[in-house]
Symmetry: C2
Subunit: 502 residues, 2 copies
């Protein structure tokens, strides 16, 4: 429904690809090899890819490495103890004075298989989105694949799609003898969804290998209008797990129900104290120090298409947070989001108890000017101001008895700060022009709402970062039933070809 | 630790049993048959007993029926469509002018077996409470069983213990030829933990069979001091399940994190609006109409032992709700308790999403003067006052889009009102005197904190109800690892013998 208007806008990109020779070559190659491209992609998606699951994650690295070796890329694994390997690749172009680094990651978000309509690592194609009634279908034996079909699997979008797109773009470039103008480097991470806990260490260790003029971050979705977007920053992220303690064990709610403190209610009250009804964070100083947008950045935000009404329809929302501000404005602010909550049992297993504990897990998105540490400090100060004693492990009986309110706060060692590259840099302008020649009018954004560990590239390698995403926005990324719309894969191949040949 | 002081108080009861001939006969019989009593009890506990699980629940009924037939009780099953049978039994005493009805229930609370230290329907004996480090032990082949040992199984306390106590008491009465003075009736329900949805129908259908001068409700725990308590009422109960809706499906928390409303945060805010930090319910009119306690009732509350400090130690609590009021006072007020809460995932399966829904399940305890309907109406009015549209099923997209806040409210068809019998009735005085002669000084309470469906006995059969519980208070009733302290079974046998012979 909402998608009809959106798809028409997408045609602009399809038409304009002809203006860029590499993108044009990519389209011809793709049209002749659709089934083989999907088959290779599905093989990659079939390998379970949680960062914490060894040896599966190493198997992913090996397959990705082989994919790029096959395309003439010299590869190696960059290793530090305790981390999945980074797959590094290189194409040296004689006479080139510029080096482009392409970043993607091959690990995926944690999941609960029970929530998936089909097993997360057994890719299937559906003839439309699952929530629009999509059925599993077989690819046609000949002719074009319907580009509105979707591939369902963990990391179909986030973030194996760019790997498939880059590999196919290289095939097209080789087949059509499109000349490269830059040195090309690839860096494919294996624990981005775990918060990139070792990336800084790897960047430092392999600093000499990793010099470049720009990092192109191939991650995240295109604009909700289905237009290509180029994004110059990302919010930082950090996570907090909160556990509030009630009685030492569950109690009968009748016999103790308004005497023993209820940790679920305590947690509800604590969370409620953090935001007002309009979604504004009410933690003291939470918004202090935000680095303001430049004039160019403000203009880009103002020019971005307004898709809020369409999105509200698509998501069946009767309102949004933020006091009437558009989504594209709001992502320039820090956020605090309850990503999960649990206490005792609900549904058929519920019973009349006062729970013993209640847990919530929160993610905080950061913008330039607010560091992980300052955000965590502000949240902790707020929790203390609500009367809590904060510990970092399950409290013993003495601790529980010594304080009226006790909470365990576990912070995320892998959190990282926000980053933002100026849109006015020559390399920024070149990327924009190239993308436009391949994909038509571009949505330019100072930051994406999501997070990729860009800040450390700036801090350690002093290279600017620019995000060149390809996935559809409605991809269920980070949730169950993740998927990639096939047109987005096709468009992504053309974008990658244009950028590789830039 | 806290239990040491408590156990000493319990000795008062043990000593005084000698004053009541039936209780004294029960003690002698029990001392000679401890292993057989426990063995028969464990057989009963080994039958899974969720009200909704047919045919297991009928198997319980059949075994209970056989237990009492064996003791000379004439039994039959009282049936209405769709309900577990009520086991009814009768002993006619020639010349008796009084009829005593003994109530218990053979079904147990729903559970999640994963939470149990040992399977819920495979009874084991432990040499102390599990949370005090109790190990599974075998009964000694001869000599007395340590009365501080505990039997672990679903319904060990709630509410199969009184069935075992009554059956054993009958054995002792028969063996010692203790004369009965009253007609005796038994009524054992099979869906009390499901809210007794068919009990009223059964009472109406079998009204002619069920006449009596008093119902003795054998359910619930004794006082936390381990002294026998006799309770003259019970709070009513009703349950509400709340589901708050966010986006139609989970969203990436970075891309949509402070734009799409978060249902977990909405639910937290809604719950937080229902109670203040001290546990007082802030729903408008929630406390209106409470029937005040009589002078006798106030005196009984004032005389009840204060075990709050001991309980706080036992439960590792640093504070209690209720502005300094004692537990025994607070249960004379209605309560609102969050019994479970869930949204998306926590722990290792958590991911950075805006959840799509958030659910809480609440139980409300009622006192005389506040009906189920008025409590539910007040809660719903409060939810509407927070800006919610209330439905009773999952809303469609149009409904979600038409309202800024949408909630599903499922109320409990089996909820029931509170009940309270006057302590000044002659039958009340007789029960108190009899219990005292068997068990020493009695704790007298106008109401228990928990709920049993007493009001319908009053409304349909016009019989007063008095609760004569036997389980230990620290029995994990309604939670995992439910247990019965063996001394409580021994004491319960003596109490039941005294009441049967009253």
């Amino acid at each position: 429904m909402a998608r009809i208007g959106i798809v028409l806008l997408g045609l602009a990109g399809i038409v304009s690809a002809q203006q860029n020779p590499a993108a044009s070559a990519a389209r011809q190659w793709r049209q002749a090899h659709e089934r083989a491209i999907v088959a290779e992609f599905e093989e990659l998606l079939a390998i379970p890819n949680l960062a914490r699951d060894q040896p599966d994650i190493r198997k992913n690295a090996a397959v990705v490495q082989a994919m790029f070796e096959k395309r003439g890329v010299k590869t190696r694994l960059l290793e530090v103890p305790g981390a999945p390997p980074v797959v590094f690749g290189q194409i040296e172009t004689p006479g080139a004075t510029r080096t482009l680094m392409f970043y993607a990651h091959y690990d995926g978000q944690p999941l609960d298989p029970k929530e998936w309509a089909s097993p997360p690592w057994q890719p299937v194609v559906r003839n439309r989105a699952l929530d629009a009634g999509g059925d599993v279908v077989a690819l046609p034996s000949s002719g074009a694949i319907d580009p509105e079909w979707r591939i369902y699997a963990r990391s179909a979008s986030d973030d194996k799609a760019p790997l498939a797109a880059m590999a196919t773009a290289l095939d097209a470039i080789h087949a059509a003898h499109v000349p490269l103008r830059s040195n090309i480097k690839f860096i494919f991470e294996g624990e981005e969804e775990a918060g990139s806990p070792h990336l800084a260490e790897i960047l430092r260790k392999y600093q000499d290998l990793l010099g470049s003029d720009v990092w192109l971050i191939c991650d995240g979705p295109v604009h909700q209008s289905r237009r290509q977007q180029i994004v110059f920053g990302a919010r930082g992220v950090t996570e907090i797990a909160l556990t509030v303690y009630g009685p030492a064990h569950e109690l009968h709610s009748g016999h103790y129900g308004n005497w023993a403190p209820n940790p679920a209610m305590m947690l509800a009250r604590l969370l409620a104290s953090m935001k007002d009804d309009d979604g504004r964070i009410t933690i003291e100083h939470f918004y202090d120090g935000i680095e303001p947008l430049s004039e160019t950045e403000k203009r880009a935000v103002a020019e971005a298409p307004d898709v809020d009404r369409d999105l509200m329809r698509e998501l069946a929302l009767g309102r949004t947070e933020g006091g009437g501000k558009k989504l594209v404005e709001l992502i320039n602010l820090p956020s605090l989001n309850v990503r999960g909550m649990a206490s005792a049992r609900v549904g058929a297993q519920a019973s009349n108890v006062v729970p013993s504990t209640a847990t919530a897990t929160i993610d905080i998105r950061l913008v330039k000017g607010i560091s992980v540490q300052s955000a965590l400090d502000r949240v902790k100060a707020h929790i203390r101001a609500q009367g809590y004693y904060i510990g970092d492990k399950d409290p013993d009986a003495a601790t529980r008895m010594a304080h009226p309110k006790v909470i365990k706060v576990i912070t995320d060692p892998g959190g990282y700060n926000a980053s933002r590259t100026s849109m006015d840099l020559p390399i920024s302008q070149l990327v924009l022009k190239t993308a436009e020649s391949a994909r038509g009018p571009i949505v330019k954004l100072p930051t994406m709402g999501g997070s990729v560990p860009l800040y450390m590239i700036d801090e350690i390698l002093h290279a600017p970062t620019i995000s060149t995403p390809i996935a559809n926005h409605d991809n269920n990324q980070h949730s169950y039933n993740e998927n990639l719309r096939i047109q987005n894969l096709w468009d992504g191949i053309e974008l990658m070809a244009a950028l590789l040949a830039m």
